[in-house]
């Protein structure tokens, strides 16, 4: 009755909950959802609420929506039909302006395991890959394996997505992309080729989970790309290692032993081994991660080095692993198993730290046994006495299991180190009388093995053991003793028959293994000492004949037929060969299966092969030639790589922390620099890995120096960033080259700058510039920058030329080296440069980054507009232009401000008046602007995809001025990072009717395609698509992620977009532009 009542109340409760969920009052709904989620988390069955919940998915209240998402995440697959109702809401949410909502909708939708929606998820993921927010892109990456799990047919599309995501430069995305790679196509290593260097250098900036995945992937990748560095370890080196380990080790396994021959062989073939620079890069860029607080990251780095690093460089991981053993028990457990596997192969790595593995009393058993197995492997001349002393203490422990392990270790140590054999035997003998039969048995087994090695020396032990047969009960121990007596019965001729006599008496009560050993002993004695034992043996055989165990019966019959049966045709010699043959020395059970499983896997810990376990590829014998990787633009030189990386890291921190526009720009420059694959890719800088590396490393600084107009290298304090002379030299090469390339087209662009660089005059005019320039020979030769015929030629920047000019200018080189030193000190101060300096730096950066960004399109002059005239603002002129550099604040458009103080007095504390509107991210206040000083900075405005003007106030200590900025339609667009034609055509074909517009253009025939292109790019921030057809195709993206596609085919203009308003505006602008 009471049960029925309970049921009733439960049903009542559920009804109440449904009423709440379906209520109109949001607070009640929220309460209901909270209760529901609470019930879910305790494992209650809540499927019956599904219809009520699925209705709520469209709720405008985000708090409710999130809870609904949580519910759907777990229950959708149980009710796929109803779940499909919610899909459209997800699709709508995916268009939301908030990146977190976009990501959330994608994440939850992709977690719904209903195969029929896999296509929809795929579509959303494809969109998300091009999202402006790295968080959404990462979510897209993580959705890929889910789609793959639902429907394997999409594999090709997914791989495409993965390769697109791998191109991403945000460290947050890389981790996700690699996770997807591992689950969808773990062996398609060719995808990684061109990104290898990038991943290496982004590693430090990734989040910890991304690091784990990346290291795992890079390890497997590298095993297919590089040759085994240990094949080439010269014998000298290993000798050195030996002396470093200061003792000889006895447990080194096969690899160690076969090594000398191997080495010799190899030495004759390939005397020298040079590590692939990429291999080196990987090793060096993972080392800093050993300082991570995440033990999984540390362990992964250790695994990577264990499988990839040369033997001589392993010390560093030994230290890191030992530190992990000081953490909490679970971490310690995994770290110790790793050490145990490693020390099996390289015992010397840890042998000097053997004390770290001494067992402490309070530790759990699994830690103790692991430590014991490690200690056993580490034994050597130097520590054997200390170890024996420790073991002597361990065997006294109360924990039987542990004592047994300690006995086994002691046996192993004694068998390999004759120095302590006697001591160990004594200790083991004492243990035979242990209260635990298991311990006693184990010690006898160990003694047996030890005795076999040298029985003559230890006859006293032998005799003592035979006496123990009266006391010992443990079957394994008894059988061990019997075996020993039988094996060496000729050495104890008086005792052996007596033992057999005793056993004959107790035979019936013995266990099977003991019985078998009795038969064994009997047959041996029968052969050696027939006279004394014949009768006894006959008796035992008879007993065995009627034994309950068929093994025993079988053995007895076998022996009887062979030995006792008079019909036996075998003579004594043959029988002796059968029964008394020499036995090989015992092997200690090295359970070697650990080394079969790759480190850092559950399989390695559990010693079982689990599903999902990945075998490590074997090193290739000859490293494959990999042009894609070699030609990728990331740096090769170790030093540079790490410097750049670190610089970036520092910068990222600072910039994010301070929101300083300067740094953002520099950051961009750097990114664009390093991403300048197109330059080297086109072959004009044929294959000079070092060139591109150094370019990206120091480009930002030297670039700024050469453009700054201050004309001297000392101005660019951070010249030394590249750390090497030739590196920096080539960096400026590249910078200049670009400049040259651009000059004809965009001369006006930088003329219209703040005037800090006044045309080409400043380049040739500044003697200091060309003087310090190492390759200046070729430059001065050509005379002027505009006549750049020699630069555009592809081979003209080859390394040899650089070298030549370096030699010529060795004097200058010296002076420059001095500068390098100086500027090295200056690196930290680079953010404290004077305003003047930084501003010019910015402008040049802006200039170059633009050019870089639009590598394959047209250089555009952005019209400069006046924001504040001097009459109104105490003599401060402010003009602006909309910058097309990608914004670091998604959704915000960067606006470059040019400020000049035309007043007689300095202007102080110039900033945007508070409160700063929501849609503006302010620049850092300008503390002081001297008369006639100009300054540039960046302001970020979120126009919210509208052409409405944005108003704000600029305030200085003395004045307050109203300003407004009106964007043109074209500037509301964001240029997508990458887009290919197929995708373009695909999308366009989907957009028709309301979403498309087709118009005839008049008077367009007079324009060349090139001119049209320039005009379009001038009015709108779009990206041109390389088309195979004759059409001109452009694509752009609005702030709310609507894509806008523009096609111009002879005189037809078509625009496709989901945003009809945009189509309208853009078409108007384009028509206007092309009219003139």
């Amino acid at each position: 009755m009471s049960k029925a009542f309970q049921k009733d109340t439960q049903a009542q409760k559920n009804l109440n909950l449904i009423a709440k969920l379906e209520s109109d009052n949001e607070t009640k709904v929220f309460e209901g959802m909270t209760t529901l989620v609470g019930m879910m988390s305790q494992g209650y069955e809540v499927l019956e609420f599904f219809p009520s919940v699925v209705k709520l998915v469209a709720s405008p209240n985000l708090k409710i929506k999130k809870l609904v998402y949580i519910y759907l995440d777990q229950h959708a697959e149980l009710n796929p039909d109803l779940a499909l109702l919610s899909v459209s809401t997800f699709q709508k949410d995916f268009q939301n302006r908030e990146q977190l909502i976009r990501a959330l909708s994608l994440r939850v939708l992709s977690s719904i395991r209903v195969p029929s929606i896999s296509q929809i998820i795929l579509l959303l993921a494809q969109q998300a890959v091009n999202d402006s927010s790295p968080y959404v892109r990462k979510t897209a990456a993580l959705a890929i394996p889910k789609v793959y799990g639902l429907n394997k047919d999409h594999e090709e599309n997914l791989i495409e997505l993965i390769s697109a995501l791998l191109k991403d430069k945000h460290p947050m995305v890389i981790g996700g992309a690699l996770a997807a790679f591992n689950q969808v196509c773990p062996d398609k290593f060719e995808l990684l080729d061109e990104h290898f260097r990038k991943i290496c250098s982004l590693l430090v900036d990734c989040d910890e989970w991304g690091q784990i995945i990346a290291i795992k992937t890079l390890l497997r990748y590298s095993r297919t790309q590089f040759v085994d560095p240990r094949l080439f370890d010269s014998s000298e080196e290993s000798d050195h290692m030996k002396s470093g380990g200061d003792e000889t080790n006895f447990f080194s396994t096969d690899s160690e032993e076969e090594k000398p021959e191997e080495a010799e062989e190899k030495e004759s073939k390939k005397p020298k081994y040079k590590m692939d620079p990429d291999h080196k890069l990987l090793l060096s860029s993972t080392i800093p991660l050993l300082k991570s607080r995440n033990s999984a990251v540390v362990a992964e780095v250790c695994n990577l080095h264990f499988y990839l690093a040369p033997r001589s460089e392993l010390r560093v991981i030994a230290k890191a692993l030992i530190k992990l053993t000081k953490r909490e028990a679970p971490v310690q457990y995994v770290a110790l198993s790793t050490i145990s596997t490693i020390s099996k192969k390289f015992p010397k790595l840890f042998s000097s730290n053997y004390k770290e593995f001494f067992v402490l009393q309070p530790e759990p058993l699994y830690i103790k046994t692991l430590k014991l197995s490690i200690l056993t492997q580490l034994v050597g001349l130097a520590n054997v006495y200390a170890l024996t002393k420790e073991l002597r203490a361990y065997v006294k422990s109360e924990n039987i299991q542990f004592v047994i392990c300690a006995i086994q270790s002691m046996g192993q140590i004694a068998s390999h180190m004759k120095e302590v054999r006697d001591t160990c035997l004594t200790i083991l003998m004492n243990l035979i009388s242990h209260k635990s039969q298991k311990v006693a048995g184990e010690s006898i087994v160990s003694i047996k093995k030890l005795l076999q090695q040298n029985v003559d020396e230890h006859m006293d032990v032998m005799k003592h053991l035979t006496k123990m047969i009266d006391i010992v009960v443990e079957p394994s121990a008894r059988s061990s003793i019997l075996w020993l007596v039988g094996e060496y019965c000729h050495k104890i001729p008086l005792i052996a028959p007596d033992v057999l006599r005793k056993l004959a008496k107790t035979f019936r009560n013995e266990t099977n293994i003991v019985k078998l050993q009795v038969l064994n002993l009997g047959s041996k004695l029968y052969l050696r000492n027939k006279k004394q034992t014949e009768k006894l043996f006959e008796y035992i055989l008879t007993l065995s004949k009627y034994d309950t165990n068929y093994d025993v019966r079988d053995r007895a019959r076998f022996i009887r037929l062979l030995l006792v049966n008079p019909k036996s045709k075998l003579d004594n010699a043959k029988l002796e060969k059968i029964f008394l043959s020499e036995k090989p020395l015992p092997l200690w059970n090295d359970n070697d299966e650990t080394s079969e499983f790759v480190l850092g896997t559950l399989s390695n810990i559990l010693k079982i092969r689990l599903s999902g376990y990945q075998e490590l590829p074997k090193f290739p014998e000859v490293a494959p030639v990999n042009e894609t990787r070699k030609n990728s633009t990331y740096g090769v030189k170790k030093k540079e790589a790490s410097k750049r990386k670190s610089k970036k890291h520092r910068k990222r921190q600072k910039q994010l922390a301070k929101e300083s526009p300067f740094f953002e720009d520099e950051k961009f420059w750097e990114e664009s620099g390093s991403g300048s694959g197109s330059y080297s890719g086109t072959g004009s800088y044929s294959g000079s890995g070092s060139f591109s590396g150094s370019y990206s490393g120091s480009g930002s600084y030297s670039g700024s120096g050469s453009y700054s107009g201050s004309g001297s290298y000392s101005g660019s304090g951070s010249y030394s960033g590249s750390g090497s002379y030739s590196g920096s030299g080539s960096a400026s090469h590249s910078a200049t080259r670009k400049n040259v390339e651009k000059n004809p087209k965009s001369g006006s662009a930088h003329n219209s700058g703040s005037g800090s660089y006044s045309g080409s005059g400043s380049y040739s005019g500044s003697g200091s510039f060309s003087g310090s320039y190492s390759g200046s020979g070729s430059y001065s030769g050509s005379g002027s920058y505009s006549g750049s015929g020699s630069y555009s030629g592809p081979g003209s920047y080859s390394g040899s030329e650089q070298k030549q000019s370096n030699q010529v200018n060795s004097e200058k080189e010296n002076s420059k080296n001095n500068l390098l030193d100086l500027s090295g000190l200056d690196m930290f101060g680079s953010n404290t440069n004077t305003n003047n300096n930084t501003s010019s730096q910015i402008s040049s950066l802006d200039f170059t980054s633009n050019s870089n960004y639009q590598q394959n399109s047209v250089k555009v002059e952005f019209p400069m507009k006046t924001l504040v005239e001097k009459s109104r603002e105490g003599g401060v002129d402010i003009s602006y232009r909309i910058s097309r550099t990608p914004s670091l604040h998604p959704g915000y458009t960067p606006i470059r401000l040019y400020i000049k103080n035309k007043n007689r007095n300095p202007v102080k504390n110039l900033k945007i008046a508070e409160p700063v509107p929501d849609n503006i991210i302010s620049f850092q206040p300008i503390s002081n602007l001297n008369p006639d000083q100009s300054y540039q900075t960046i302001l970020y405005i979120n126009f919210n995809s509208k052409t409405q003007p944005i108003s704000f106030q600029i305030k200085s200590e003395s004045e307050l001025t109203n300003c407004r900025i009106t964007p043109t339609t074209g500037e509301l667009l964001i240029k997508p990072l990458s887009f290919d034609e197929n995708e373009f055509d695909n999308e366009v074909s989907k957009l028709s009717g309301m979403s498309a517009l087709k118009q005839q253009l008049q008077s367009i025939e007079s324009l060349k395609p090139q001119e049209i292109k320039e005009k379009i790019i001038e009015i709108a921030n779009v990206c041109q698509i390389n088309s195979k057809e004759e059409k001109l195709k452009f694509v752009g993206k609005t702030g709310s992620s609507d894509m806008v596609y523009i096609i111009i085919d002879s005189n037809t203009l078509s625009i496709h977009s989901t945003n009809q308003f945009m189509i309208h505006l853009i078409s108007k602008d384009i028509k206007n532009a092309l009219k003139n």
Partner: protein, 415 residues
Amino acid sequence: MIKSLFILNTGGDVVLEKHWQGRTGRNIISQFWNEFTKENRTKDLPPIVRIRRQTIVHMRKYNLLYLIVADQDTSPLMFIEFLNRVIEVFSNFFSTEPTETSVKENLPKAFELLGEMMDNVFPVTTETSMLKDMIGATMKSTPNTIENSKKFVTLSSDQVGGLPWRRKNINHSPNEIFFDIIESINATIERSGKCLNSEIISKINCESKLSGMPTLTMVFNNSSILEDVSFHQCINLDTWERRKILDFVPPDGAFELLSYRSNRMQTQIPLYTSGRFSWSKKKRKGKFEVILQLRNSLVKSIDNVSVLIPLSRGCSSPAVKTSNGAAFFNDQTFELKWEIKKMPKNKEVTLKGSIKLPNKGEIPREKPVAIITFSIEGLCMSGLKVTNLNISNLKKKIFKGVKFISKSGNFTLKF
């Protein structure tokens, strides 16, 4: 890969369960619980076990047992560190240790957090500050905020992609930051008082209440002590490599800045320890003596020193005499505990006594050990000192403080 997470209380009941990939039945949990509670295994069951063709990783913290069920192979440490993060995030969100009560009180929040922390078997967002931005505001359940939550005010776009460990627009008054340098000494002492081996395992805990985005630099007198070090992700590794200076933008609230390990000791072990223990077969008795003394030159005083001697089962009430403090015998756990409230200067304190063995059974072969715990404020055993702490990017007045604590880690006396 991680399939499910279960949190059990001390009785083996499920407090919370979260599934990322399908639902894992509870019978695997009961089977694990049987395994776990088998005699002697509670401590000795390895942290990674195989049950019903599934892998279970378990971990105990604050009287809760966390179980991860996995069916695919991956890094075992990833599971363990993920659990560590879960516990860290829970304690930050519940503003108390995650115990059975506090988890039960915050079930929906905990559940939502777990959803955010992992996306399809892959850990994603595990930083408290980012999580606070993502859900912090949505879970306040007062009715007023419900109605007004149409706009996602706190979902600031800058956060994602910024510093993952620090939110923008943090405001504190007063502004203060405190560092606790906590050094634990692990040592094994012989009965003669000789130190067999010792090492210092230390960490720097930080409690930061600073506004905005401050950048801190910390300079040490002897940075070589920090050779074997692990850093919080906020620390700029490069500056450290080159200049041995810590340069970081701290997370908000309490966090562990770094941890280090050192074998070198600048000072002597602050507590001198020696003792004796012997079994007498005839009397079936064990006699023991423990001597402690302060090493005077270093420390003024140590409060609350305790010595714990775990004895073998069946031992009965010891006769104990102490020169200072009091000693108790717990006949459930068979542990003798000696507590000294205040260690005197220049004077040895002693514990003498004997215990009785049960009438039957063997004399134990093993001698017990004494586990000593102490904690000293103001002493730094490794000799590490902060010579300079600079805060830039914050114009307000800042209170800063550095405190040293030396304490015992695994400090045992072997008789």
